[in-house]
């Protein structure tokens, strides 16, 4: 999909949502949405807030950023996610499927792909539920942290043996 296309689609979805709920289509809301949808990666409330207050065409206050985010969540335009222990907001049009590897050691998160998993999830039968997207969080240890753990475990075993000897 075209980059610009998805932005326009998001705007349309917002307009529809606002009209349906008798809410107003303000410049501020559009500006916040535009920033999120012109950005590929997820953003934090802080990032957004900072950017929107620096913007010289239209400055949007912190309160309005939060207000908009919560409205966009209701409208299904963004979703709150936890990445590296940080709260972020991500576009719902991306991540029809994201696979994240989250290291429990250093907390680092990397993304990967696996077509077979992707296909299998797509074929999943969800009763009374219409799937629009998914995120697979895989927990574990990266090779560095795994090696470090093994080293520590070895050390622990030695300590135990030492104590036993005493």
């Amino acid at each position: 999909m075209d980059k610009n296309d998805s932005l326009l689609q998001a705007r349309q979805k917002l307009m529809d949502y606002l009209r349906l709920n008798s809410l107003r289509n303000t410049q501020e809301r559009v500006a916040v949405l535009d920033y999120i949808y012109s950005n590929e990666s997820s953003v934090s409330a802080e990032d957004l807030s900072r950017h929107m207050s620096e913007e010289n065409r239209l400055r949007v206050s912190r309160a309005t950023v939060y207000n908009s985010l919560s409205l966009f969540e209701d409208a299904g335009l963004v979703r709150k996610v936890l990445v590296n222990g940080q709260l972020l907001y991500e576009r719902t049009d991306r991540n029809r499927g994201t696979i994240r590897l989250i290291c429990g050691g250093c907390g680092k998160t990397t993304e990967m792909n696996d077509d077979r998993v992707r296909r299998q999830i797509g074929e999943m039968r969800t009763r009374r539920f219409t799937m629009t997207g998914w995120t697979l969080n895989v927990y574990g240890l990266c090779s560095k942290c795994y090696a470090s753990l093994k080293r520590k475990q070895k050390k622990l075993m030695n300590n135990k043996t030492d104590i036993d000897k005493k």
Copy 2:
């Protein structure tokens, strides 16, 4: 696995971690861990804090609860997760695989199972990463919210037609 067994295993893991890092095995840390591991579902910092301050045998302060939680995260005993927009701490010994259906309309979360997806994820090749567990978050709409959306969309179409007529 026995309910009591997993608690003891967690305690052991904590002891090992503390010893390895020259930290102290305090009653407070054990008490917090015990509460988490005697509970099946995830808990919020608030829940924990409230419970630990009411406990009459050993009262644990809010600061110590936070300190312990962060230590348990480092030790790989608990993990922070976002459920229904709320930050919770969950045991890492559960959720070797959880499939959550999250409704973007009402925010309700339900768990489901799918053996083929489960198997496919288990067979996934993760480079330089050792998997210990995973959570699949499926986003979408429950049947109620889906129906409600369709109704609204229909209403929107009618409005548009009305406007066009004018």
